[in-house]
């Protein structure tokens, strides 16, 4: 069965995703060739966040239900892959008390990633069964509950996850070029999902639940699909995080990361993939600038005062201003190919 209702949807999705891929890839390639070494790391982190934002978009953008648990699924993806892939001799050192023989096996990077995707996807499916039955604020509170529960398990089961201490020794599998390719793949997945039959019906239900119901949209099923697909992308982002950094802990998978990525999504506009990409780029570069200002630099002989907290203020301000002025984000429903493909006829 074709996932698209019309060939026009496919064409739009294909060109849109291709154009975004070009943008994303050229930033990466530029940095690979011209950037300093620390830029590579900065940009890698930005790509991981892009994956998170895309994973978030798949559910939030198509259903208009605020999800605050995404960092938890990212964490699950990272930890499961890390537990599988870390060499036994390191695990004996770092997880001496691990149950179920978790410190007595090791797998190659690909199998570890697949296991991580499967397990996280399954957990997403299970939690999804709960989420899709609720609407609006009720669903959001359950996502907060998921975040708190997962974080609490990471923090407490130190014999498996090490809590706030470092889970170290994960081999470095990925580099910048691998994550560029993964990002492109995920951009295509997210964009195809948005324009697919499921995506269109879901977006209808996010605009008007009752009316979509009356038009034959199986809202529960589609939300569950979006939630699970989002969970898989988030797991992938977590794997990318672990496979590059080599060391993880429970700390980065909690509220501050939730808000950072949420701000990225809603700045660009959560209803469109273009918006998700633009928001990620703007916030990543914007925050670098703000951080520079924060420490009180001297610019052109002018000494600025130290302004700690400026980045948090900027992030909050972005969220508030977008919500107040333009709650569809910078681009709303706009997708990048509309710049080039003429989709509108005159009335």
């Amino acid at each position: 069965m074709n996932i698209f209702q019309s060939s026009k949807s496919f064409k739009q999705a294909f060109w849109g995703a291709t154009l975004l891929s070009v943008v994303i890839a050229s930033i990466g390639v530029f940095v690979i060739f011209f950037g300093e070494r620390y830029h590579l790391r900065l940009v890698y982190a930005a790509y991981v966040n892009l994956l998170v934002v895309l994973g978030l978009q798949v559910f939030m953008g198509n259903t208009n239900i605020t999800n605050l648990s995404h960092s938890a699924f990212m964490g699950l993806g990272a930890y499961i892959a890390a537990i599988c892939v870390t060499p036994i001799q390191i695990k004996k050192l770092s997880l001496p008390d691990a149950p179920w023989g978790l410190n007595a096996f090791e797998l190659d990077a690909l199998s570890s990633a697949l296991i991580s995707l499967t397990l996280t996807g399954f957990l997403a499916f299970l939690t999804g069964l709960v989420i899709v039955r609720l609407s609006g604020i009720g669903a959001t509170i359950v996502t907060i509950a998921i975040l708190v529960i997962v974080h609490s398990i990471f923090m407490h089961r130190t014999d498996i996850f090490k809590g706030k201490q470092a889970f170290f020794g994960i081999p470095q599998v990925f580099d910048l070029s691998s994550i560029i390719m993964i990002s492109i793949f995920v951009i295509f997945v997210a964009r195809f999902f948005r324009e697919s039959k499921w995506g269109i019906q879901l977006r209808a239900s996010s605009d008007d639940e009752k009316s979509a119901d009356a038009m034959g949209v199986n809202i529960f099923k589609l939300r569950l699909v979006a939630w699970t697909l989002g969970g898989l992308i988030l797991a992938l982002s977590g794997i990318c995080y672990a496979y590059y950094l080599g060391t993880i802990s429970a700390r980065p998978f909690y509220f501050s990361h939730v808000f950072l990525t949420l701000a990225m999504l809603i700045l660009g506009g959560m209803r469109s993939i273009t918006g998700a990409v633009i928001g990620t780029i703007l916030i990543t570069f914007g925050l670098e600038g703000v951080r520079f200002m924060e420490t009180g630099p001297t610019i052109l002989g002018l000494k600025f005062p130290e302004m700690l907290g400026l980045s948090g203020i900027a992030l909050g301000a972005v969220i508030v201003i977008i919500m107040v002025v333009r709650n569809g984000g910078l681009v709303g429903n706009f997708e990048i190919e509309q710049l080039f493909i003429k989709t509108r006829k005159n009335i």
Binding site: G138, I144, S152, M155, K210, G309, I319, N327
Partner: protein, 299 residues
């Protein structure tokens, strides 16, 4: 053993009172304009910082400090409504929620920027706290004050909503906002009053929090409000009775978890509390006491 049970029950009651007090502040705003005000925590923190400033400029009179802190919270709540929440008044709940998150982020970091990331001692409310002996049980006066203040706040709210003109308008608004507008009551006044009341409740909460903690820091309000938010949802969002019920339920749940869970699982307290919350929501998606919506003939 009996002492222990009574002691822990009293503890649960005072935990619950604090959550209920904060949850009421959230619920009153939600019932009128459907806004989940996550910035409520920072309204509480403002009360705390106000006490810090007053102590620094040598105000000693506790009554003055208390009034000042409550006043600061009320002003802050009304101010936030005016600049941040009025523009999103008619937007959907998600927009409001995210706006509130943004406001909360801004304020937390402003405290960090203008004051300090570290806790600053504020001891001017210590006088509220002394031990009281009831037979073989010792409790803190603060627990009693807090429970009583919460009950008084509930009583005051009930009277206000039932007896005063604005209160009646607010009750009507929580059922059908358009209707109140058609009746010629200015929406701005109704909503500003709701925020002022939530600020008042936040101010009272700030006094008790500071009396216990003796210090103020930028994230002072975040955790209590997260819990209160949960209490609201569990009780039935928008229902004031539900908020109070949810608050006390959460208090009981939290103390219960600490008591029941074995030491090796003690760290998972939050996980268990939130799991119970999630189960309650699946069982009753609108919360335990969700307000009856007038569905009527039309959909």
């Amino acid at each position: 053993m009996i002492d222990y049970v009574v002691q822990q029950s009293l503890n649960a009651l005072s935990f619950g009172a604090e959550y209920a007090l904060i949850a009421l502040g959230l619920a009153i705003v939600f019932s009128i304009m459907g806004l989940v005000n996550f910035a409520h925590g920072e309204v509480i923190a403002i009360g705390g910082y106000c006490m810090m400033v007053m102590a620094a400029i040598a105000f000693r009179n506790p009554i003055v400090i208390i009034i000042g802190a409550i006043f600061a919270s009320v002003i802050m709540a009304v101010f936030l409504e005016r600049i941040a929440f009025r523009p999103v008044r008619y937007a959907d709940a998600t927009t409001g929620l995210l706006t509130a998150f943004g406001v909360s982020l801004i304020l937390q970091n402003l405290f960090l920027l203008l004051v300090s990331p570290r806790p600053i001692a504020v001891t001017s409310m210590y006088f509220l706290d002394w031990p009281i002996k009831l037979g073989s049980i010792r409790i803190s006066s603060l627990q009693i004050f807090e429970t009583v203040a919460t009950l008084l706040a509930i009583l005051f709210l009930v009277l206000f909503l039932k007896r005063s003109f604005l209160g009646i308008a607010m009750r009507a608004a929580s059922l059908d906002f358009e209707m109140v507008r058609l009746m010629g009551i200015r929406a701005n006044r109704v909503i500003a009053t709701a925020f002022a009341i939530s600020g008042l409740l936040a101010g009272i909460a700030a006094i008790f929090i500071i009396a216990r903690r003796g210090a103020v820091d930028p994230t002072l309000g975040f955790n209590p409000v997260l819990k209160a938010f949960v209490a609201c949802v569990v009780g039935g969002f928008g229902s004031l009775t539900g908020a109070v019920l949810g608050g006390f339920l959460l208090g009981a749940l939290e103390v219960g978890m600490l008591v029941i869970l074995p030491q090796s699982y003690g760290g998972m307290k939050d996980a268990f509390v939130f799991a119970v919350i999630a189960i309650i929501l699946v069982w009753r998606p609108e919360g335990i006491l969700s307000p009856q919506k007038e569905k009527g003939d039309k959909i």
